[in-house]
């Protein structure tokens, strides 16, 4: 497996799109943390300014996950990949393991950077973000949701085997389907859908839903990711690339 992880690392570092996605995720989180901290009037816990960027970061990491597998199908490199490693589930497992690592590292950098930016802004008002249990909870949730987002992306990428289709499917679900279900079918059912669950997975941000507290929502989100990954694995195994 160490060989396959090294192969994934080379694939990751040798193209620009991966650095653009992770770089934009980090830059955007710093920018949003700065804006949120400036606009914050002290009416809410200071730590919440750090999680405002979460949606954008998670979408970018989701796209990264879709690209991990979708690009290989798009450019046809998947055939040589499966010729080199004919046990396809091992390839998918390596991509998932690597994706979890990259997602977690990116989120950690984004979060720590956001903390630094927000702390500087708050310092002007003689405020600070307390180093307490709430901060620990938030950073844990932020990093884990980020890692799960990459896994979910890999699942979607494996199912669609086409990056554009995968990204379109995710965006339509996120901005249309889940809202429609929440409004017209059932608020409880809507809250269990993957992206609504991912919003509720950050302490204090998602508000009160059926899935409170936050770690229940995180578990539901992770279950979606694992489920989609398993379906994707089955499809990749069955279909001729």
């Amino acid at each position: 497996m160490i060989h396959l992880l090294r192969a994934e690392w080379i694939k990751f570092r040798s193209v620009r799109s991966t650095w653009v996605l992770t770089g934009v995720a980090v830059a955007l989180s710093l920018l949003i943390a700065g804006i949120a901290a400036s606009a914050d009037d002290g009416g809410q816990p200071a730590v919440e300014t750090l999680a405002v960027s979460s949606t954008f970061v998670f979408i970018l990491l989701l796209v990264l996950g879709i690209q991990f597998i979708g690009q290989e199908y798009r450019f046809g490199t998947i055939r040589a990949t499966f010729t080199a490693v004919p046990k396809r589930t091992r390839v998918l497992l390596a991509k998932t393991t690597f994706g979890v690592g990259i997602g977690a590292v990116t989120a950690l950098v984004a979060f720590v950077g956001s903390f630094a930016v927000a702390s500087i802004v708050f310092a002007g008002d003689d405020r600070s973000i307390p180093l307490d249990a709430r901060l620990a909870e938030t950073i844990t949730a932020y990093v884990v949701v980020a890692a799960v987002s990459v896994v979910l992306g890999i699942g979607v990428g494996a199912i669609t085997r086409n990056p554009a289709l995968g990204i379109a499917a995710v965006l339509i679900d996120m901005f249309v389907l889940e809202s429609l279900v929440t409004v017209f079918v059932s608020e409880d059912l809507g809250s269990m859908l993957p992206f609504n669950a991912s919003f509720a997975a950050l302490p204090g941000i998602g508000g009160d839903t059926l899935l409170s507290p936050w770690f229940v929502a995180l578990a539901v989100y992770a279950a979606w990711a694992v489920g989609l990954l398993l379906i994707g694995g089955l499809i990749v195994e069955r279909r001729d690339p």
Binding site: A7, Q71, F82, P86, P241
Partner: protein, 304 residues
């Protein structure tokens, strides 16, 4: 390493792409896998490499199915689609990522880059490569693990004459080193005399199998070039005997299936003047065209 393909079959819906195909590939030889476009060559190769799932039959390498070979790049090297590269990734990184997956050191990457003559462009984005350069990159990938078996799908496609000679020489070199080389082409002339054995297929079915000379024997036949001021009438007479005739201008015809004696006597019997009557040795291409004449998907012009 010996390759055995036994009764391999692939259907796409109701169409049969590969139909109960069996053959073997021996070490130390170049085995040509030829057939018209759409005959099922690529599908067969993909099934051998466990990319496509066969509906029946199997392919084994020294008795092992491909999926059970550990670090298969060290046993079987494959060039399937030379253009399958991430366009923004450098050639060197393209090779490195596959090398890593089979535990092949980076030093070997630089070796194969030198071997195929891409050293000057190895840092450039593979998306900007010409088809000829891409074929060389694909060949480098196949050779990464220094495998005893090399499977090449249309490696000469898109190469200029120099490139074609280069790849022929290269295949000969590999076979002389003891490798099993299995190479497909839709043009037998592209492979030329470099092949030792032939597997000829058409419409997914085996048409001929054996050494180059065996296959030539079954597929080759007499051919005669005739020049006559009355070529049109002669062509009609010859065609009545159920023989194929090709003309390039009004005076010259190519008769395949009758020898010079028969054509000369036919002309004399009908008082047709001949300016030239030249028997031709059955060529590789004639043999191939005859073998596959019933299985060509698209016929250009036909036998006129």
């Amino acid at each position: 390493m010996q390759i055995e393909v036994a009764g391999i079959t692939k259907r796409f819906g109701s169409a049969v792409a590969v139909d109960d195909l069996s053959f073997s590939v021996r070490p130390g030889a170049v085995t040509g896998f030829i057939g018209p476009n759409g005959a099922g060559k690529s599908t067969t190769m993909r099934m051998m490499l466990a990319l496509d799932r066969p509906d029946a039959g199997r392919a084994t390498f020294d008795g092992l199915p491909y999926r059970q070979i550990r670090d298969p790049m060290r046993s079987v090297g494959a060039l399937l689609d030379a253009k399958a590269v991430h366009p923004r990734r450098s050639a060197r990184n393209h090779l490195r990522m596959y090398a890593a997956s089979n535990g092949i050191p980076d030093s070997r990457v630089d070796e194969v880059i030198d071997l195929v003559g891409l050293a000057d462009v190895a840092s450039r984005r593979a998306g900007g490569f010409s088809l000829g350069m891409a074929q060389r990159l694909g060949l480098a990938l196949a050779l990464l693990g220094d495998p005893p078996v090399v499977i090449l799908d249309e490696p000469a496609n898109g190469l200029d004459p120099d490139g074609i000679i280069w790849i022929r020489t290269f295949m000969r070199y590999l076979a002389d080193q003891g490798h099993s080389v299995f190479v497909s082409s839709h043009l037998l002339s592209e492979l030329g005399q470099v092949v030792d054995d032939l597997v000829v297929i058409g419409k997914g079915r085996l048409l001929a199998l054996g050494s180059l000379h065996d296959v030539l024997g079954t597929g080759g036949r007499d051919a005669v070039t005739v020049v006559s001021p009355d070529a049109v009438r002669l062509a009609e007479l010859v065609r009545d005997r159920g023989v194929t005739v090709a003309t390039d201008d009004s005076n010259r015809i190519e008769v395949a299936g009758l020898d010079a004696v028969a054509v000369g006597e036919l002309a004399a019997a009908h008082g047709i003047v001949l300016h030239e009557l030249t028997p031709r040795e059955p060529s590789l291409e004639d043999a191939y065209l005859r073998l596959t004449s019933d299985s060509r998907e698209f016929r250009a012009g036909g036998a006129e």
